[in-house]
Symmetry: D5
Subunit: 125 residues, 10 copies
């Protein structure tokens, strides 16, 4: 079991405008494996960003997330890994990754990792 | 297939007051066609604005949205196109266009494009 | 058909305190008539204010709203008219009128008109 | 019928810490009598505060609220009375009283009365 | 009956990144005993924090919360105790503990205790 | 004020099939006037039927319902009148009229009037 | 304290039709007093019936329910008393009284008392 | 504009078992055109059946539904057409088609068409 | 750890009427201990019955349920034990015990145990 | 890829009573792989049964469901396979397996497979 997903699966297209705008993709079919217990984890991953030059292509983002399916990786590491991979590959003006996890032993968890300054549009809308 | 909707369908009426106020129209019957797969996309389009001199007439806005029905156009482009068409034709003090799209391959998406400064009324109410 | 409702129906009582406080009344039985189609419109009208000296009496507010029942008047005009009538007759420190309208042709609409500066209590609570 | 509830019913205990923190109690079984119609009113009363030295004991707060049961008192007066009684008897760093009332003649109402400056913790949480 | 839970049950692991991020754990199976009536209390405990160097291990947090099961301790004390134990043992950059309690005698209660300054990410996201 | 709505507004079209099937129309913009108090009533009217030869045309049903707008008529009478008018004019195999009324003095009401035997399809689905 | 409400408050009007139909009134502002603890109880009372000759007048039903306000009477007795009073005074073809009570000590309760045979319309609709 | 969809788009696969079982597919992206007004209609189509020998392949069902996109056809005709096409092409032991339509002029509509006897499993589960 | 709760805690009062009626108590604060893992279980217990001569007193039912708090007992055994204890001690005409358990390892569970024939009132209402 | 899950993972324990009762387990973390597209499917599997002599042990049921994680198998086959495996290994008096699948291409699906006669307790409760 190898906990490094394949960021090379990600593909990008040019942003349709130079005016800043906000994109949000919510994926509620995320699953990985707990490295400690070997049991699967299930969660929702939300990606919000303001593109600088490129946008992430949705199908490639899906394949990138599917690549976590049989990897052993903790909640906190998934969240920071996705933030790092997307920040490095598309250099957004702002990026926020939120993961929300199904209940384990009476707990629900949520992790939030951010890159760059939150855009005025997001705050104000 | 031609991805340019007809902005000439839009009609306007004089704002009933010079005092600034906020108008929001939510249209949950938007459909266009994905240029990549040829399959239809379905979504909700929300238009929020502070009129400067004119307001958009609701029936003409409906016809303008219906004009996207058989056009091939991506989520991001729909959102920026509506923002640009409305900003150009009615010169609002503020305008925000939000599109929310039904699930595709385990993803829900939302795009937010803005024109002008958000009004204090919207922030404070 | 005459689109001017009767603001003389409104009655007031002295505010029970000099300390500023916020009052909100939500009326979900508003109906008027569309001047263009002649069909009835249905909506919810919310009035929020900080009284300066007087409060609006609830039953008189109901009669004032019922007076719109058979008048031909657009969404935007209803909202600004209620704001103007209440601002003029009770001189509140702050007043906000929000109208929310049932769906027409796939659209739901909301209009927000304000008078005066929003009170710190409303923002902070 | 006497509209002055008995604030002497309220009892207090020492705050368990000197560090500021926020307490919220929501009571959804409040009833009093409309002084105009003689019909009962039903509502929810929410008390939020930052204690300075003492906290209000929950059972005594319940008895204090039950003492309104057969009193004739308007919505606005209930809200300001509770704010005044609690502000005077426990000197909180911040206090907010919110009352929400069941529908009467197509209206739902909400009244908000505050004492002191809102704490940063409440804003930021 | 002894109202001091065992903070030594808590275990920690190194944060996977030096970049600040937010972690939230919601535990909806908390129970303790009311010291006054001897009846059990039931609630939800939410822990939100920005780690400085370590994160709390989820299973140890569960055992720590289970250790309250038969202790006699008031709502306000539970909240401040959890805040103090976690602040002392993991020195987070920010920590917020929120407890929400099931209805007692027509009341629902919520207590919020905080340590440190709220992070910009939490406010802005 | 005259409480007899105009059933001649109703129009019909031929059923598209001879096989029995169920049609349900829910109209949530019904309003009439209480003959006792003169205040407006607001409700939802649901019509369910199995056509024998004809179906009611939706726009004509809307005009028929709008014709109640300023008539003075009680809940129970509205329900039986709609049942009688539709049963007489379209001779359905089964017809059920359900009216649901907004709150008055702490009450919500529902009235159900039926014509003919309930179809197996409705029961079994 | 006397637990016998005043059934003479009830008034009736002639049923508008001889064809059987179902009437349901839901009253969510019921309150009485627990004879054991002296604390108020709060609940919702639903009355469903098929009239034989008369219907209960809604305002008189409200006054009859308000008459329980300061009486000491248990949940089970309220339900059976309302069933008995309405069955005796209006001789319905069918009558069902359902009471639903707010939480007490972690319990919610519901009591159902019936008179006569359930009508086919109710079952089939 | 031609209102006959293309049933030849439908494809089938062998049922995985001879034991009867129930399949339900809910498609909430149905759109066709109103033949009277030329405006698009939007709805949800639910297909429930017990296969006799074959099951409908999901992607082919999607293409069949997409084929209605630009056809002019009424609610009632859509429902009966789908029932007839599926009954003829896969000879199910039981089939039920339910269409639910977005609001038009204050109305929501639902149409139910059935083929064959409802299976005991559906009733009993 | 002893898995036999104390049925002697249960107390009863005479039914207020000889006419059959249905009583339902829902307790959402049930907790016991898993005999296998030693971890606490949390659930809701619903008791529905038609009394023959006596009703269970609500406070005694609460104490009886609290007596499970530290006992090691499985879901299925809790449900059958409550059914047996209540059937033996109050000889109801009908009794149904439903337990619903919070998630464990991705599962939610519900157990239903019954005594006697279901009353027509329950089925028909 | 092999579509036969391992039924030998299932373990059983003796039913705690000879009186028939109903058990329901809802697992909302089911995932398998679509044999056609290779993409993962996500769903909820509900198992309801009346034990004859043994009950399925919950942890073993979880491992059995996890064994589908990387198998290529269609919705309909999953449902019938689970029904067959559980019917064969525990010989229940009644068994029902319901699978509900997340949206694919605008469709949500549900499959219901049953073994034996539905128990009166399930129908009547």
């Amino acid at each position: 079991m190898n906990d490094t997903p394949n960021a090379e699966l990600l593909e990008f297209f040019d942003s349709p405008t130079e005016a800043p705008f906000v994109i949000e993709h919510v994926h509620d079919e995320f699953t990985s494996v707990c490295p400690k217990t070997g049991h699967p984890d299930f969660g929702t991953v939300t990606v919000r960003y303001v593109p600088r030059a490129v946008c992430v292509e949705l199908k490639s983002l899906k394949l990138y997330f599917q690549d976590f399916r049989n990897r052993g990786i903790f909640y906190e590491a998934v969240t920071n890994q996705v933030r790092d991979d997307l920040a490095r590959t598309m250099s957004p003006a702002w990026l926020q990754v939120v993961t929300e996890w199904k209940g384990r032993g009476g707990f629900r968890s949520r992790i939030i990792a951010t890159h760059g300054e939150v855009p005025a549009q997001w705050l104000k809308g």
